[in-house]
Amino acid sequence: MSDMNPALETFSQEVDELLTAMEEALLGLEGAPDDADCINSIFRAMHTIKGSSGLFGFDDVVAFTHEAETVLDRVRNGERLIDAELISVLLACKDHTAQLIQHVLFNEGEPLPEALQQQNQALIVRLTGAPAAGGMPSTQEEKADHFEVDPNTSNSSDNWVISLAFKKDALRNGMDPLSFIRYLQTLGKIIEVIITMPALPRIEDMVPEDCYLNFKIAFNSSADKKTIEDVFEFAEDDCDIHILPPNSRQEHYVQLLANLPEDQVKRLGEMLVEIGALTEKEVANTLHEQREDDDAEAKPLGERLVEKNILQQPVIEQALKKQEAVKQKINKESNYIRVDAAKLGYLINLVGELVISGAAMRLMVDKHGLSDVDDVASTMSHLVEDIRDTALQLRMVQIGETFTRFQRVVHDVSKELGKQIQLQITGGESELDKTVVEKINDPLTHLVRNSLDHGIESPEVRVRAGKPEKGTIQLNAYHDSGRIVIQISDDGKGLDPERIVAKAIAKGLIKPDQVLSKSEIYSLIFEPGLSTKEEASNLSGRGVGMDVVKRNIEALRGSVSVDSELGQGTSVTIHLPLTLAIIDGFMVEAQQERYIIPLSMVEECVEMNSDEWQIDDVQHYVNLRGQVLPYLRLGDFFHNNKKHTRTQRESLVVVRFGEAKAGFVVDELHGENQTVIKPLGKLFENLDGIGGATVLGSGDVALILDVQGLIHHAKKRANPALALLSGV
């Protein structure tokens, strides 16, 4: 009833349905005694009830339904005719089965009452014309059947059940099933062996060198599952092996599961391997099969394991229960507090100020040479650093949520366009600043829509090109040296460099005789005016071109690049800073002006010394250990009209942005600095080469360099031919 265990409840429902179907079929047979469908349906009802009852150990039900099943099997094979008499007996059998089930469900473990037993006997006599044979089944097949339905009852309860289905070529491959069984004997006692040959053809067609043998072995051993599995290690390729642990083990496993520590959520397979109920191989194989059946909704692992007779239901249930319990516990532990984003922003601002005043204090301490204060100050600056990191961490969110929103977009759009597209998401757990996540959403949407609309071809075109009908778009995110990298790739038709060049020439972006590298050609698509307007649909005609995507990303101090292979697909890579608020900076000085370079972009610092490096003053190149590096004098760049004196020795700071490298020539290096980024006012928003400003401890302002833009400038100066390309 209400406290009935859920498996039994399912069982009872299933039996009800089957019996109802059986009654209908029986009544149907009265009109048409030869209806094979009806006969099959009756047989199935009895057969299934027998099987399920065996699982629960309802021996009385098994015994009775077995008799009915045997008779029905004969009917099915045309050995016994259906007549009115048989139909009425079968109807009585149906009622009797219902009574039996009621009895076993609600009076668990009690023997059958006298009345039911008599009815039992009477019906069996009427069914078979002989009293119920209590003896052992005689043929191998029947034994196998018996074995299969109730591995849990009677004396086989304490045995492993090992099923071996050898493949056709096993013998030819030098396997001798007997030798494995002989070896198995060394681990324990073989209680019973059942040999079946389900695939055996007619004797004339039987090839003696093929293997038709399937074994089912009841095996008594104290060895663990892994050891038993290892016996068949060499047969693996030629044999399907299932090892069902004995009942006593089952209790043992349930016990072990209950004792598993509850510190983290594990996957079902992992838990079962840990307690030894499954071997890793079994998990891997089952998961592999699960992946293979990608069509319909894939069955969960647990169901598969029970179905394939690898593990018993109770063990799986206990494991799932445990998993759920751990999940709940962890959920309870990791409580969230919802905080107003504005408050958080305020906190971050305060931390920023704290960093600055910390730096101011540091400066004072150094200035007055207070050595005892120095200790206190350095402890404090450590704490401030920790507070800064933690405060920034508060704003970090996983990008996964943004990614999963695209599932819907992909689903809707692919339907609209009549394409088959799947979205694969990886690295959704990468974290980045909430404000960055919010601002990246639009460019990402644009890029994904682009892939959907222009990238992936229609199914017919794809099939013709020898690609799978279903297109794939991948969203991937990962951290790379203090930045986050987001990739949007598709396996669509790719970009056509020739078309891009032709268009760029037509638009006057490049000269016809200009020689461009592949990546230079692809980066042309980010130029304004080169959007693929002619293919505009309601998706791409949104007025947001790739140039806007690029601008949005660059506004976040990020960068974007494209790679593509014609016919193979396109991949867009976005580099973004993790946060917009505070960075580790590297402070330099040129012409009495201080500048901050984001530390993550600094490669190295060397002396700008013509004795050591070959310097080309006209072309602005330096030969750094054989590498040609364009360089830029920061002083000259920012104070173009100021006459300056080159007094002391200069330093060269080598910076890297993605693949591009350049050198900045500065007068002095000041070292690392925690930089609180203060946005510049609206007026200065479009300043070349400057990304922001910061306030130093002394109260001075230092400019934060836009390394990417400056690298571009350095290259442009060095090679004016590229100037046209850059479009800056």
Binding site: T139, Q140, L171, R172, M175, D176, P177, L178, I181, R182, Q185, I190, E192, V193, I195, M197, L200, I203, E204, M206, V207, P208, E209, C211, Y212, L213, F215
Partner: protein
């Protein structure tokens, strides 16, 4: 494989004078199949000379048994050799074939 046959009133008696392994399973099957006549009522196999039997050989015996049940004649295995007894014991097949097995006195001592 060599086999001798005697016939009287539907009983065929064969002595298998060779190993029953994958190497000769094909020819063994052909030979045995040759003795399947509609009139056969009983097939007796003398296994005393079978010094080696592997899965392929066992498979043939199982096939014969199944075929005998299907065609309604009797398969009788006689004078099981030690190799055969060992396999039958391993797989608990004695009951299935149902033939009396005579275990020699010096069995498993040598």
């Amino acid at each position: 494989m060599t086999a001798k046959a005697k016939k009287n009133d539907g009983t065929v008696q064969l002595a298998i004078k060779d190993d029953m392994t994958i190497y000769n399973a094909e020819s063994l099957k052909e030979t045995l199949l040759g003795y399947f006549h509609p009139g056969t009522r009983e097939l007796q196999l003398d296994l005393s000379a079978v010094t080696e039997i592997d899965s392929a050989g066992l498979q043939l015996l199982l096939l014969l048994k199944a075929e005998a049940q299907k065609r309604g004649f009797t398969l009788r295995l006689l004078r099981h050799s030690e190799a055969v007894i060992e396999v039958f014991e391993l797989l608990k097949l004695g009951m299935y074939f149902g033939d009396p097995i005579v275990i020699p006195a010096n069995w498993k001592k040598s």
